[in-house]
């Protein structure tokens, strides 16, 4: 039995600092076999959580990146037309022999249709991410990334997969998951996800982390960065987030910045250092100015 505390610990060994809510959600998802829907601003570690989990639990990661227009042919399964055509070509002589016994056309068609299932078997099925994770021998981690980019139709398609962990293929019937994968859906909230999908998931909102947690995250990723500097930059970024920027710096920006600072071997945050590296944390022209101004105000 894995408890929340254990979840926290092994995530930490995987380099992911989780808070109580995250650990509890993972714990529940593992035991209740329900998907987690994670929402939050970009760059707070939604996808990172899935990666860290797959590493820590040793579940193979199956990733499905959503985009507008994604359909079942890209997400669930597809028939391999080319292979089907090739096989019919190669098996032509056998087919001729097989069909030549039949007396008339009617019988030939009957004989052929009796063998139809040969051409719609798993042999010719291309497994796309969702089906692949369902058929994986080992319990896998299915990451459905940025679900808000897909269309409503695709969302509806997911309903069956996520509530019953099965895929219906008209030619083959229902294929149930061998091992129910640990499923993680992420969304940036650019579109309302339907209530039907929400209802099937555990809902986890990851916001910007607490001061201590963010410092811990930086320390884990960049152990050689001195603690004072880590704290100073996290505090600075927390202030920057309140500036009403177009793209507020997120945890991923914090980490990028930490990397830059450790490469530059900076020991202290000064307005000059910020001005030189501001492109790492602010991604718009207007934001650049605001952050630089904040640095002058706060750090000098």
């Amino acid at each position: 039995m894995i408890t929340e505390q254990k979840v926290k610990e092994f995530l930490q060994t995987g380099g992911y600092i989780a808070d109580d809510a995250i650990a509890t959600a993972v714990f529940l998802a593992l035991h209740m076999e329900k998907p987690i829907l994670i929402e939050g601003p970009p760059g707070v570690g939604k996808t990172g959580l899935a990666k860290a989990l797959s590493e820590a639990l040793d579940f193979p990661l199956v990733r499905l990146q959503c985009y507008e227009g994604i359909d079942e042919g890209k997400a669930l399964y597809d028939w391999e037309y080319g292979k089907q055509l090739l096989y019919t070509q190669l098996l032509r002589t056998q087919l001729d022999n097989y069909l030549s016994v039949s007396a008339d056309l009617r019988e030939a068609v009957e004989r052929l249709s009796a063998e139809e299932s040969l051409f719609f078997s798993e042999n010719f099925l291309v497994q796309r991410p969702i089906l692949r994770s369902f058929l994986s021998e080992k319990r896998s981690l299915l990451l459905i990334d940025e679900i808000d980019r897909s269309d409503d139709e695709f969302e509806a398609l997911l309903l069956e997969c996520l509530s019953d962990f099965q895929v219906s293929i008209p030619e083959l019937g229902v294929i149930a998951a061998k091992r129910k994968p640990l499923t993680i859906l992420t969304s940036n909230g650019t579109r309302m996800i339907s209530d039907a999908l929400r209802r099937r998931c555990l809902y986890l909102y990851i916001g910007y982390p607490e001061l201590e947690r963010e410092v811990a995250i930086v320390r884990v990723k960049f152990p050689d960065l001195c603690e004072v500097l880590a704290r100073q930059m996290v505090e600075f970024l927390r202030k920057a987030r309140e500036l009403n920027l177009r793209k507020p710096p997120s945890v991923s920006e914090t980490l990028d910045w930490a990397q830059v600072l450790s490469i530059l071997k900076a020991t202290q945050l000064t307005p000059e250092v910020v001005a030189n590296t501001v492109g790492v944390i602010a991604k718009h022209q207007t934001d650049l100015e605001k952050v630089t101004a904040l640095a002058v105000k706060e750090l000098s």
Binding site: E4, A25, F27, L28, M32, L37, R198, Y203, Y205
Partner: protein, 467 residues
């Protein structure tokens, strides 16, 4: 434990969070899974399983504290499991508690009962429904209501009885004096919600339309690329796509005292719509007319409302004059309106006995693809006093009575649908218009047209008319 969860869920529902039975089952299962030691995380467990929306988290915390803190006072040292037991025990025979949650209306009685109070005859008698809010036309009250999905709530009135749509805000702000010019976060969230739902419905139709728009010429290169794996046998055909136009909209919004409640929400709607999918030019007027397109796009909506309210953009102390406004609009802006925009005018057409100048509308009409007048006043009052609705209305394609945000968003949605349908492939056009007709019949007819006895202005054979 099940009992306490059921009651907690009931409390959540009471405060407006939607929780389905399967979710409460999840919560029970989660608590059981966590075992005794995991109960420290009860709040997280419940939140993960019961709350499915960011905006509800705060409310959840509030309800959680209120719900469980009642037992905290018994003994502050109690931890969560004991607290739960205490809760179960002390709740025996306490059925009334849920009705006593603060911040709720109690005089309404049980929800179910109210529903059954509506007899079929009531629904037929639309006039009586109309009289529920006699103050509507005076602008004392505006009901913000989310529109449910089509067909789900065929409500005869926007009503608080339907718990399906929990986000029902009533703004009992009296006209003018105490009227806050700014919007509360809830109102903005509400509008966001209304608009995003509208966009969702629109987008769905547009996407289907796009598929049909493919019926152009064969795109040879794409077809070859697509069928590479079939040995160039063209199983799948790629067609050229036609260019799609962004709909253009010009909005003239009266901000004078008499319609301030409606224009307020029109402006908020515009602000939310802006940049989403439209090319909107917005103007406000009282006696003067001014363009606020830039400001809408670049300013926080509350700042803008304050600026308007202070009279910095157009003088609010003067009487509104539609004739004057139309004349000025023609002089200053009409020349550089491009691309046959759809025109929306929001105002009560009360001209304070000024020159009507209705011939200007005729000129605007020639430039516009479509012309729509929105008025907060009922049909009965259109011919009274200084109201020129009948005169102006005969130049418009349509005149709609708009009293609630729901009406407003429906009207704008219809308009956008119309514009799209205009450019659409004939096949889609039919389907789009059918969808629209169904929609109108479903939810709107009752309390816009039906209640006011038809919103079409009187037909005047002597004048130019557009239907």
């Amino acid at each position: 434990m099940e009992r306490i969860i059921v009651r907690f869920v009931a409390a959540l529902r009471k405060s407006g969070i939607r929780v389905s039975p399967s979710e409460s089952l999840d919560a029970v299962q989660a608590l059981a899974l966590a075992g005794m030691e995991g109960r420290r995380f009860s709040r997280q467990l419940l939140r993960l399983t019961l709350v499915k929306n960011v905006h509800d988290i705060e409310l959840f915390n509030e309800v959680f504290n209120r719900f469980f803190n009642r037992f905290q006072s018994v003994d502050p040292d109690l931890d969560m499991p004991d607290l739960m037991d205490a809760a179960v025990i002390s709740m025996e025979g306490e059925f009334n508690y849920l009705n006593q949650l603060p911040g709720e209306d109690h005089d309404e009685g049980p929800l179910l009962k109210l529903d059954s109070d509506i007899a079929p005859e009531d629904l037929q008698d639309l006039k009586s429904l109309h009289e529920i809010d006699p103050d509507d036309s005076d602008g004392n009250e505006i009901v913000v209501q989310m529109k449910g999905y089509r067909g789900k709530a065929k409500a005869p009135r926007p009503t608080r009885r339907y718990t399906q749509n929990p986000l029902t805000i009533e703004l009992n702000k009296s006209n003018g004096v105490e009227r806050g010019v700014t919007f509360s976060p809830e109102e903005q969230a509400e509008m966001q919600d209304v608009v995003s739902r509208m966009m969702l419905r629109l987008r769905k139709d547009m996407r289907r339309m796009k598929n049909n728009q493919n019926r152009g010429k064969l795109h040879v290169i794409k077809t070859i690329q697509k069928n590479y794996r079939h040995d160039m046998v063209p199983f799948q055909v790629a067609l050229r796509r036609k260019r799609r136009e962004k709909p253009r909209l010009v909005v003239l919004c009266d901000v004078s005292f008499s319609v301030s409640h409606a224009s307020r929400f029109m402006l908020l709607l515009l602000h939310t719509l802006h940049n989403q999918m439209l090319d909107v030019r917005s103007f406000i007027f009282n006696r003067e007319v001014a363009e606020i397109t830039e400001m809408l796009a670049n300013m926080p909506v509350n700042d803008l409302m304050e600026t308007i309210d202070k009279g910095d953009i157009v003088d609010l102390d003067e009487n509104s004059s539609f004739g004057q406004v139309f004349l000025n609009f023609k002089k200053r802006y009409l020349e550089n309106l491009r691309g046959r925009p759809a025109f929306i005018i929001l105002g009560d057409a009360r001209n304070n006995y000024d020159e009507a100048n209705d011939w200007v509308l005729d000129e605007i009409r020639e430039k516009a693809r479509y012309m729509l007048w929105l008025t907060p006043e009922d049909h009965d009052t259109w011919s009274r006093g200084d109201c020129l609705m009948e005169t102006y209305g005969s130049y418009c394609d349509k005149v709609e009575v708009v009293k609630t945000v729901q009406d407003l968003s429906l009207v704008v949605e219809d308009l956008l649908r119309d514009i799209y349908a205009d450019q659409a492939h004939p096949l889609d056009k039919k389907r789009l218009l059918e969808a629209k007709a169904a929609e109108i019949y479903d939810s709107k007819d009752y309390y816009t047209r039906g209640a006011s006895g038809g919103s079409q202005p009187g037909f005047d054979p002597g004048r130019r008319s557009h239907w």
